[in-house]
Amino acid sequence: MELGLVHYLILVAILFCIGILGLIISRNIVKILISIEILLNAVNINFAAFANFGDLDEAKGQVFAIFIMAIAAAEIALGLAILIACYNNRHSIDIEDYTSLKS
C-alpha cells in the first residue's frame, strides 16, 4: 500500500486530537505546553504533506512549516519563562493551583 495524502491527513488528525486531549486533561503545565507543541507539529506535518502532494514547484508549505517551527520554539520558550515566574511565586506546576482569577 502506497502512502497517500489521506494517510497523512489522518495521522495529523490523530496527532491533533492527541494534542487537544493532552491540553485538556494533563494537570502538569509542562505537559500542557508540550501538548501545544504537538498541535503545532501536527500542523507542520499537514503543511509538509500538502506541499509534497500539491505544491511541488514552490513548496510554500515547507516554508510555512519552518516558520511555524521557529515561532513554536519562541512560544514554548516564552511559555517556560512564564512558568518559571509562576513557579517562583507559587511553587507549583499544577494547573489546578492557578485558578485564583475567576468569575
Partner: protein
Amino acid sequence: MDFLLDIKTAMLPEAIITFTILVCTVLCFMLKQEKQKIIYLISLLGLIISLTSINLLAANKIFTGFYNSFTSDFFSILMRFLILSGTLLVIIMTKDYSSKFKNRQGEFYLLMLIAALGALLLSGANDLIMIFVALEALSLSSYALSGFLKKDKSSNEAALKYLIFGGASSAIMLYGFSFLYGITGHTNLTEIFTYLANNNTDTMLNFTFFLIIAGFLFKVAAFPFQSWAPDVYEGAPVPVTAFLSTVSKVAGFAILIKFIGLAFNNVEIITVTLGLIALLSITIGNFMALNQMNIKRLMAYSSISQAGFVLIGFALLSYSGISGAIFYLISYLVASLGAWLAIIIFNTQTNKSLISDLNGIAYRNPYFATCFAFCLLSLAGIPVTVGFMAKFYLFHAIVQEGPAYLWLLILALLNTILSLFYYLKIIKAMFVCKQENESFKLNFDAGILNTSLVALTLVVVLLGVLVTPFIEIARDSALSIKLPVKQVGLSR
C-alpha cells in the same frame, strides 16, 4: 530597490516603528535603569512620527507589495491609524503606572512596540505566512506583557492562561490554514480567492473557515473563545489590558474581515455562524457583566459583548454591514480607550478596582467622573455619543438586509438593555452612591493622562454629533477591501 519603494508607498509606519524598536532595544541595553524613562518618550515619538507618516501613504489606491504579502488599501490604512493611535494612548497611560515595572520599563515599551508592529502588519497582511507571523508577533509580546509584573501572582497566572489559550487557538487556526493551503495550493490570499472563485469546493472550505476563524475569535475575545479575557484582563497590568481590549482587537477584526471573503458560494452559512457567534458573545458578555463588582472584569465582559456587535456587521456579509462594523469599531476603540484611561488614572492613584470604590467620586472629581460617564454611556449607546451613532448605523445596516435578518436586530436590541444596566451601575456608583468612610480625591491636574481623557471624551461627543465624515470614512474603507460580498445599501 523594489523593496524600498514598497516600504515608501505602503509600509512607512511599520518601518518607522521597526526603526524605533531597534533604537529602543539598543537604548535598553545602554541606559541605566533610572534613565529608562527616555524610552517612554522615544517610543511616543516613534508612534507619533509613524502616525503622521500615514498621511504620506496613498490613500485612494490599493497597493500590494512586499512580494504580494502586504496590501495597503484604505481599509488597512484606517486600521493602522486606529492601531497606532490606540498604542499611543496605551503608552501614554503607562506614564505613572510604569513605576510598578521597577527596573524593566524599557522592555515594556519594547514589547509594546513589537506588539503594535504585529498588529500593524496584521491589518495589511495578504499572505497566510505573513498573517501567522504578524499574529504571533502580536500574541507572543502580549503574553509577555500580561505577565510583566513578575512578582504579582495574578499577573503570572493571567500570562499563563493567555499563553495556553492562545497557543491552542493559534494551532487550530494553523490547522485551518493548512487545509486552505491544501485545497488551493496557495498561501497568498489574492491567489487563494482567485482559485476559489473558479473552483467549487464547498464542504471542506466551510470546515476550513471554521477552523481559521477560531484563531481570530480568540484574538477579538468573542464567543466561544472568550473565557480567557476576563481572567487575563483582571490579572494583567492595566495598560496591557487596555492594549488587549483595544489594539489587539482591532487587529483581530482587521484580519477577520479578509477571511469572510471565504464565503463564496454559501453566504447563509457564514452569516448564520457569525450571527450566532455575535449574538452569543453579546449575550454572554452582558449576562456575565451584570454581577461583576470589579471594574476591570466588568470591562472585560463588556468588551466581549462589544466585539459581538462588531461581528454582527461582519455577519451581514455586505458592504453596509462592514462599514457599520468599522464605524462601530472606531466608536468602541475611542470609548473603551477613554474608559480604560479613566480606570488607569483611578487605579494608579488608589490601587483599587472595585466599583464600590468609585462611590461618590463625582463630587470630588467631577471632571473625571463626567468623562468616565460619557465613555461608559457611549459604550452603552446613549446619545449624544459616538456609541449611539455607531449602534444606530449598525442596526440600520442590519435592516438593509431585509426582514430576514430581523432576528438579529431584535436580539441585539434586547441585549442593549442589559448592557445599559451594568454601565449605569458604574455611573450610579460615581454619581449617586454615598461615599464611604474613607474618602480620597484623585489628583486630576492638567497632566497628560487627564488631558488625554478629556480629549477622548470630547472625541466621543464630537463623533456623536459630527458623524457624517466618519460614516463616509467607514464606508470608503469598506469599499476599498475587494470582497465578494453583496453591494446592498451603499447608494448615496
